[in-house]
């Protein structure tokens, strides 16, 4: 419980640049607790089904999975700590942060990194779903799952080009998976 709480404290303080930057931190931190790629994929799907900020949802999910309700609460509170410290401090000092060039420069670097991190995680997820292997170098155990590949391409296109509701896409993919059981 302590380890998970501390991990989410760290994620909170390093989590610049929004939910997806944080999601990549969660992916790398939660692996220490034994979170599988499948469980991470389910987390991302639940993020789409359940309302709320991605980081809050993720802290609750990982906490609940590894220690039950108490740990979920502790992890969620831990990820909230930065906001509760920063807001009073900032209002107290009224620093004109955006007047300094350092702030946008720093954020620009982190946001560029977040793109690469999320793309890599998406690729690792695809590798697991389509290839049934967990690392890119594990070619000998490669086993193709064509339905997953089709769903990945369809969902990415539908979300990016046609702006279909992610919730609908997740349910549709679940339905397709269910139908495949009877084929």
């Amino acid at each position: 419980m302590l380890a998970i709480t501390l991990a989410f404290l760290k994620i909170g303080f390093l989590g610049f640049g929004g939910g997806y930057a944080m999601l990549s931190l969660i992916f790398s931190e939660a692996a220490h607790f034994g979170l599988t790629v499948q469980q991470f994929a389910d987390l991302n799907a639940l993020d789409g089904l359940i309302p709320g900020p991605i980081a809050i949802n993720s802290a609750t999910y990982v906490g609940q999975l590894y220690g039950g309700f108490g740990t979920a609460l502790a992890a969620t509170l831990a990820v909230c700590v930065p906001s509760l410290i920063i807001v009073p401090l900032y209002t107290h000092f009224e620093a004109r942060l955006n007047d300094h060039w350092q702030v946008p420069a720093l954020l620009k670097g982190i946001k560029s990194a977040a793109v690469g991190l999320i793309l890599a995680i998406a690729a690792l997820l695809m590798l697991t779903m389509v290839g049934n292997v967990t690392t890119i170098t594990d070619w000998s155990n490669y086993q193709a799952d064509w339905l997953s590949l089709i769903i990945i391409i369809f969902v990415a296109t539908a979300d990016l080009r046609w702006h279909l509701n992610p919730l609908l896409l997740i349910l549709l993919a679940g339905l397709l998976g269910g139908i495949s059981y009877y084929l």
């Binding site: 760290k10 909170g12 390093l14 610049f16 929004g18 997806y20 944080m22 990549s24 790398s28 931190e29 499948q38 994929a41 991302n44 799907a45 639940l46 089904l49 359940i50 309302p51 709320g52 900020p53 991605i54 980081a55 809050i56 609750t60 309700f69 909230c80 700590v81 906001s83 807001v87 009073p88 060039w101 702030v103 420069a105 720093l106 670097g109 946001k111 560029s112 990194a113 793109v115 690469g116 999320i118 890599a120 998406a122 997820l125 779903m129 339905l147 997953s148 769903i151 990945i152 969902v155 990415a156 990016l160 992610p166 896409l169 679940g174 339905l175 397709l176 998976g177 269910g178 059981y181």
Partner: protein, 181 residues
């Protein structure tokens, strides 16, 4: 007291009906706090939104805390923050508890396999959307590619990559700054 109750209700409402990320809360907050009850000006709300994005932490929560603090001091900060995260926490812990009960075999496993593939697809889409807005010069593209490679081949962890990227951002920024001077 009445203001605090109103703040809590507005954030609870916004937190319950916004899917995929906290930023979707903003239109609800604007309608309820700026247009209906005039507790905060639109300009202040958007300034806080921009500000919240420059700090580490949960952006939607930081934003809620700023607005709550502005409207009703420290107690306002806590009720707005609590309202913003409570729906996510309650619904997500219930959903996770249900999810843990699911047997991962047969029909359920096939359904989950489909959902997991959709999840990967949504991440690809998120990566492309982020790239469109954030990768506008050679430096950013290179940085993103390095982070992509290091994560894919498990060479560096995400925390070290983020710290590295922040330093590179500062370095590039200071060079631009010197050219301007």
């Amino acid at each position: 007291m009445q203001t605090n109750w109103r703040l809590f209700k507005v954030y609870l409402l916004a937190g319950t009906f916004t899917f995929s990320g906290g930023m979707a809360m903003l239109p609800v907050i604007e309608r309820e706090l700026c247009q209906k009850s005039h507790l905060i000006s639109q300009q202040d709300l958007y300034e806080y939104t921009t500000l919240a994005q420059t700090f580490p932490g949960v952006i939607a929560l930081t934003n809620a805390c700023f607005v709550g603090k502005k409207i009703n001091g420290t107690s306002g900060m806590f009720v707005a923050g609590l309202g913003a995260i409570l729906p996510a926490f309650v619904l997500m812990s219930a959903a996770t508890a249900l999810y843990q009960q699911l047997p991962q075999t047969g029909l359920i496993l096939n359904i989950l396999t489909g959902i997991r593939a959709a999840s990967a697809g949504l991440l690809f889409s998120a990566a492309f959307t982020l790239a469109r807005y954030n990768l506008r010069d050679v430096g950013s593209i290179l940085l993103a590619l390095i982070c992509f490679g290091c994560t894919l081949f498990n060479l560096l962890s995400a925390p070290s990559l983020i710290i590295l990227a922040a330093s590179v951002g500062l370095l590039l920024g200071s060079r631009q700054q010197k050219e301007r001077d």
